[in-house]
């Protein structure tokens, strides 16, 4: 019985939260990796673009709520996502037209692109803050829990409860669907394959008649979808605050690089690597050991490897180590 309790404890506090957080990171990381692989620059505006998409979705959610439209037990935001995506894509295309296109034609070095993306980051941050303000916003509605901890305890008679939030299930479900669709698109359709070819060797791709404008357009559309959905899922699960989204850029970068930048599947896995290591290393295992060890060996301290304050530092350290020893990432980069 104690053993089952211990497993439930880990499921409740490590496995499910890490899976959720990892999914959110994974979507962002695929976004970063696509931009890096095809447009060839590290996009420092990642976090803020995600917050723009989320902001658009929140505005539509409020509009729908004011109309009285809702999805019942599901959050209204799911209904608003397509509209948010449209706005996100329009914004991205606008920025590409006025900012990035020029440097692409000039064949500027990646560093210059990175600098330009910092300019975009400043502008996007300003736009988001001017429109919706810098404060914390919750836009979740509908049923909060699928299984409540107390109900689970009553149902199974265990000491440990397992709480399953609906946002967690939604996040994992949406991520799986979206990522499978994306990989199907990249691997099976003609456009996806030409994107791959363009990423591998631009000149050869151009020679074989691939239209670069179309590739860039499709890339921004996919990026818009990923950024908006990733941002909204994070916002539903936690809350929306422009500053947090800016900060999320860092673990997202870490995930993309750990997975091998330019490699979407690597980025997908990288998200989970980062999320699990952050949570595994900062969790206090005291209760876990209390269940599985005999009473005489119970630990006195919290059995916590690092305090939770260092959560971000864990993922950054992993990234730095990966960068130094295996710059192409764990899953080998540049094979979009």
């Amino acid at each position: 019985m104690d053993f089952i309790n211990a497993i439930i404890l880990l499921l409740n506090y490590i496995f499910i939260p890490a899976l959720t957080y990892g999914s959110q990171l994974a979507l962002g990381a695929i976004f970063v990796t696509l931009i890096y692989g095809i447009l060839r620059f590290a996009n420092f505006a990642t976090g803020d673009m995600m917050s723009f998409g989320t902001m658009a979705t929140i505005l539509f959610t409020w509009y729908f709520q004011s109309l009285g439209v809702s999805l019942g037990v599901l959050p209204t935001a799911l209904l608003a996502i397509p509209f948010g995506i449209i706005f996100m894509i329009l914004y991205m295309l606008l920025i590409d037209k006025f900012v990035f296109k020029y440097y692409r034609h000039q064949k500027s070095p990646p560093v210059q692109f990175a600098m330009v993306s910092i300019g975009v980051m400043f502008v996007t941050q300003a736009v988001v803050r001017i429109i919706i303000g810098p404060g914390d916003r919750r836009f979740f509605d509908g049923e909060k829990f699928i299984i409540k901890a107390r109900e689970f305890k009553e149902m199974t008679g265990l000491n440990e409860g397992l709480a399953l939030k609906s946002t967690q299930v939604i996040t994992i479900f949406v991520t799986i669907v979206l990522v499978s669709l994306l990989f199907w698109f990249l691997n099976r359709t003609k456009t996806g394959k030409s994107m791959k070819a363009y990423s591998d060797n631009e000149d050869l791709a151009l020679l074989s008649g691939i239209d670069p404008k179309k590739i860039v357009l499709v890339t921004w559309i996919i990026a818009g979808i990923l950024a908006t959905i990733g941002g909204v899922l994070y916002g539903l699960d936690k809350s929306f605050k422009p500053f947090t989204y800016f900060n999320n850029m860092l673990p997202i970068f870490a995930a993309a690089i750990v997975g091998g930048i330019g490699n979407p599947f690597g980025a997908f896995l990288g998200g989970y690597v980062i999320a699990f290591s952050e949570i595994l290393l900062t969790y206090a295992y005291k209760k876990f050991f209390m269940y599985i060890l005999p009473e005489s060996m119970e630990p006195n301290s919290l059995v916590q490897l690092l305090s939770t304050d260092y959560k971000f530092a864990v993922s950054f350290s992993i990234l730095v180590i990966v960068l130094i020893y295996r710059p192409s990432g764990i899953f080998k980069g540049k094979v979009l």
């Binding site: 020029y102 990646p110 560093v111 803050r129 810098p134 304050d309 960068l323």
Partner: protein, 456 residues
């Protein structure tokens, strides 16, 4: 003289702008803008050495600034004897363990050939070492943090004049840069940017959460000053006489003796804070000028020429027998050390150390905007960038408020859109910075004052 005309013109315009703030807003605001402009100028000189001279991209400026600030705390605060008695021994033990660990790793690296076993054993040593240090230092740290946590709860510093921290801050930042450079400088440019950004976040995380050393988010306040205190000045005879002399015209108009005394008191209070700021300006100006002379000399020295050669064509410079790796490391350390000085200066001026206020927007990306806007590779340009961008950063809110009012003059105050815009005035500075950066990058990619190399 003609050649430098644009430099002189640009600086004159900048000075006039600051003087206008002094005349129309207040001298206090003008001087605090000026002081922070000087500090920003030091930071941009550091970043400019790395980016402009050598083409190294360092997005970790925030980390070095914070280390400089930490130096100011560790140098100037009086040691907390009680805390040392409570846990000093444990901390020293932990430090000793770290030194032993580093030495062991160095020994292994030197002694054994590169192999999988070596890599894994080093990883094992590091992990077990960290665990050992963590668990052995834990009681000491708890004891230190328990000593009067509302006031101290940390080890304190050395109780020296804070001015020394400017040098120590440079040493701290240089030391960190040595480690970071050893590890990360081999990376490609954009990876280096990300790596340095993340390392600086790690530094901030440590400073924020190691309360025994820095008091963490509880902040250290009331640091000693190199300048006199306003309260002391207000009761000093020579200062009151000085203020009286400066304002004799204004004062002589007032007939009533009591009124005149009241007016004088008011002037003395205002004057004291201006005087203190002027003292800081003087100190900072000395630092800026010394650094400017040194960096200009370096730029035109054989060493500067070599750095530019490395920047423009690494392989060719390498083929000419220049040690690219070593020079990159050197310049990375130098630039970061200068940023460390700026960090210490900043804390000296504020008189407080707030680890929570170190954010990458303000301390990394804004500095980069300054370097790019001012003109990378040109020291005068970098300093000008620091001035222009900081000035706009502060004055963006009043300017945008003015513009909003100007364009919506016909719309009543109660209009929801107008009220919303006026409420979000502080965020227009981001917009201004972003647009400024984008326009400069597009239409004047070398900055306001571009790099100009004269071959003498």
């Amino acid at each position: 003289m003609r050649k430098n005309l644009n430099v002189i013109a640009a600086y004159s315009i900048m000075m006039v702008l600051i003087l206008m703030v002094g005349i129309f807003q207040s001298w206090n605001i003008a001087l605090s803008i000026f002081n922070l402009c000087l500090i920003s100028a030091v930071m941009t000189m550091g970043a400019n050495i790395q980016w402009g001279y050598a083409g190294l991209i360092n997005f970790g400026i925030m980390g070095y600034t914070a280390l400089g600030g930490l130096a100011a705390v560790l140098i100037s605060v009086d040691p907390v004897q009680e805390a040392w008695r409570a846990g000093g021994f444990d901390i020293l033990m932990a430090l000793w363990l770290i030194v032993v660990m580093v030495l062991v790793i160095r020994f292994i690296l030197k002694r054994f050939e590169k192999s999988k076993i070596r890599t894994y054993s080093i990883a094992a040593i590091i992990i077990s070492g960290i665990l050992l240090i963590r668990f052995s230092a834990e009681p000491g740290i708890e004891a230190i943090e328990a000593v009067d946590p509302a006031k101290t709860g940390f080890l304190g510093g050395f109780g020296l004049p804070i001015i020394f921290s400017w040098i120590v801050g440079a040493l701290f930042a240089g030391g960190l840069a040595f480690i970071v450079g050893k590890v990360a400088l081999g990376l490609r440019a954009d990876y280096l940017a990300i790596a340095t950004l993340l390392i600086s976040e790690i530094v901030i995380a440590i400073i924020k959460h190691e309360d025994w050393l820095t008091r963490g988010v509880k902040n250290v306040i009331g640091l000693k000053r190199p300048a006199p205190y306003e309260v002391d000045l207000q009761t000093t005879d020579w200062f009151i006489k000085l203020v009286e002399k400066f304002n004799s015209g204004k004062l002589s108009v007032i007939e009533n003796l009591a009124d005149r005394q009241a007016a004088l008191n008011q002037l003395v209070i205002e004057g004291s804070s201006v005087f203190v700021k002027l003292c800081y300006s003087g100190l900072f100006l000395v630092v800026v000028i010394v650094l400017l002379i040194l960096t200009q000399k370096a730029l035109y020295s054989p060493w500067g020429r070599m750095m530019r050669a490395i920047r423009d064509n690494e392989e060719a410079a390498n083929a000419m027998g220049k040690n690219v790796v070593k020079q990159h490391l050197l310049i990375f350390i130098l630039g970061s050390a200068i940023v460390g000085i700026a960090g210490a200066m900043l804390v000296t001026q504020d008189g407080l150390f707030t680890p929570g206020s170190y954010r990458p927007m303000r301390y990394t990306f804004l500095i980069w905007v300054m370097v790019i806007v001012g003109g990378s590779g040109n020291n005068f340009g970098a300093i000008l960038g620091g001035f222009v961008v900081w000035f706009l950063w502060i004055e963006a809110a009043p300017i945008s408020l003015f513009l909003i009012n100007f364009f919506t003059v016909g719309i009543p105050e109660t209009n929801a859109l107008k009220a919303h815009l006026i409420e979000s005035v502080p965020y227009f500075r981001f917009l201004l910075m972003g647009l400024g950066l984008l326009f400069i990058m597009r239409y004047r990619p070398k900055g306001i004052l571009p790099e100009k190399i004269e071959i003498k």
